[in-house]
């Protein structure tokens, strides 16, 4: 038989290349291309339709002087910090409780996690109903005799964000618990034995031995929870619609309103670019920690 020729590089593995076309298109056209497009057009004065008339940083100046955007950012910051603290605190506590070799662990875990299967819209509507001042918690406490009791977060601009927090935590803490539980299970049982032999109290073992060992789990959970918080949208729309007034506006809603309602695309692009920057600030140090030095992805 005649000498065979080395096959061309392009056609080698052709099926795999064909199979990867959707991924390549998604990665390059939608993710990279779409992001670049939005960033580019955030420097234009696009209104109803996108157009390439550059106005420098005008959109950003307008954005950062818009009270509604400032409220949105402040809300997101307050919600984000509190949601992180409480979901981590409660999530870890639940995981630690479930990790005590208890009976019915599966049942408890199923209960703590089920809200995560529900959509934010459903979550928002249920809590809207529970927090309804005329029928819900406030009404019940008052009818028990404490007639001056007031708890109406959805109608009080000062505390509406805590109302959202109630619902958000109910929905999302189970996820953190699950991740933490996996982290706890990843710790060698000998660590517990050693700590007991050394006579270290349980709480100290958790605080000084177990939690430091779970650093990777905490980081993963942090990244997941944070990037979820930045996207906060459905919950607000369903529960408060951004109200009362503009008291519970969030950036994702701001973007939607300007892009698809107010026909002010440039503002929408600038706001969404700011969201991207927020995520990048969180993500880049993480990616550096996680993948820096090692091979990529």
């Amino acid at each position: 038989m005649a000498d065979q020729v080395r096959p061309s590089r392009l056609f080698k593995n052709l099926n795999a290349k064909i199979a990867s076309i959707p991924m390549i298109l998604t990665a390059v056209v939608v993710f990279l291309g779409g992001t670049a497009w939005t960033i580019l057009y955030s420097f234009t004065d696009s209104k109803l339709l996108p157009r390439l008339r550059f106005v420098g940083l005008d959109q950003y100046e307008r954005l950062w002087s818009a009270p509604r955007w400032l409220i949105s950012i402040e809300n997101l910051a307050v919600y984000g910090v509190l949601a992180l603290i409480f979901s981590f605190g409660i999530g870890f506590m639940l995981a630690a409780l479930l990790d005590q070799k208890i009976r019915f662990e599966d049942a408890f875990r199923t209960i703590f996690l089920y809200p995560f299967a529900l959509s934010f819209v459903v979550t928002g509507l249920v809590w809207q109903w529970i927090l309804n001042p005329d029928f819900g918690v406030q009404h019940i406490v008052r009818s028990l005799g404490w007639s001056s009791f007031t708890f109406d977060p959805l109608y009080n601009a000062d505390i509406v964000i805590y109302g959202l927090l109630f619902a958000g935590l109910w929905q999302g803490t189970g996820l953190v618990m699950c991740l933490m539980l996996a982290g706890l299970r990843g710790i060698d049982e000998d660590v517990w034995k050693a700590a007991r032999v050394d006579g270290i109290p349980t709480w100290k073992t958790y605080l000084f031995i177990v939690i430091p060992m779970m650093r990777p789990v905490f980081i993963t959970a942090l990244v997941i929870v944070t990037s979820g918080i930045v996207k906060l949208y459905d919950l607000v729309v369903a529960m408060t619609g951004g109200g009362p007034g503009q008291a519970s506006e969030v950036p994702a809603k701001y973007v939607y309103e300007f892009m698809f309602r107010a026909q002010n695309l440039g503002q929408g692009f600038a706001a969404s670019t700011m969201m991207l920057v927020t995520v990048a600030i969180i993500l880049i140090p993480w990616a550096y920690l996680e993948f820096g030095g090692k091979r990529r992805g």
Binding site: M1, D3, Q4, V5, R6, P7
Partner: protein
Amino acid sequence: MHSVSVRDLTLNFGSVSVLKSLNLDVEEGEFIVLLGPSGCGKSTLLNCIAGLLDISDGEIWIRDRNVTWAEPSERGIGMVFQSYALYPQMTVRGNLSFGLKNQKLPKAEIEKRVGRAAEILQIGPLLDRKPGALSGGQRQRVAIGRALVRDADVYLFDEPLSNLDAKLRSELRVEIKRLHSRLNNTMVYVTHDQIEALTLADRIAVMRGGIIQQLDAPQVIYNRPANLFVAGFIGSPSMNFLPGATVDGGRSFRCGDHTLDLAGYEGGAVLDRPSAILGLRPEHLDLRQNPEPGRSLPAVVEIDEPMGADSLVWLKMDHRQISVRLPVERRLKPGMQVHVHVDMSKASLFDAATEQRI
């Protein structure tokens, strides 16, 4: 015509050169074992022959065909893997016939070949079971069967016995040897186990760093290793190495204050070398009460390890540890003064600089 011929094979992973301009000719019906420590490139070489790795340079011929760029299935090979690599969701029959179905062979022919392989390997009763329901030894038989049904020109084995326990390993080793003598096919067999290599091979290729160090019959590899690496790698416990120099025009070996007569040494011209290494296998040494000038070295017994059939005696000689294999009846007490008698006709002498056999 060679059965398998590897010509100037080079394989680079990035800037790392895994195989370096390697040549290997396998005769028709020959059983070749590729032996070496992990990372020596033996499995890589086998994967190149199988076509599972794209090579950087060189050619691979099987029979009279240049298969350098052929698909694995077009090379006329059958392959057996370390982890058996049976398709878990298929029955044993399905595993054996999968490749034949891909070749679009007629049903009757598939039946015939599966039946024959099952008979040879005595796995007939297992044909309708799934791999998960088989023991390790049975799985490996099925894996061998899957290679056999292909009626290949060459069978490739990639450490097929490494996942089995010691007893099964020796059983299947015998079985593979029987299989080879019955079928008389060319086989290329990768292992890091020297017992497998020594027992199975017609020729052993000892590899290190992507290079074949020595390609010879097992007895030659064992008795006349080509270099220090091969000498040290083959044999357990490994060969004793005595550093020293050859003097008197290559007639004597000087080691510290002692001198050994090289008269019986079978090798090339020794000449005077300021730095040489004498290699002595533990079983080629004997211990006696009395010295014999030029043929023995004094030593002190450290430990005596009886091992059933024989016993291994560890001695101290000028702060150097050497081992001697003796019949188990001869018990020695630690601290005894003895003399190690050397059978120079079975010794190996290496140049310390080139590490090559003299």
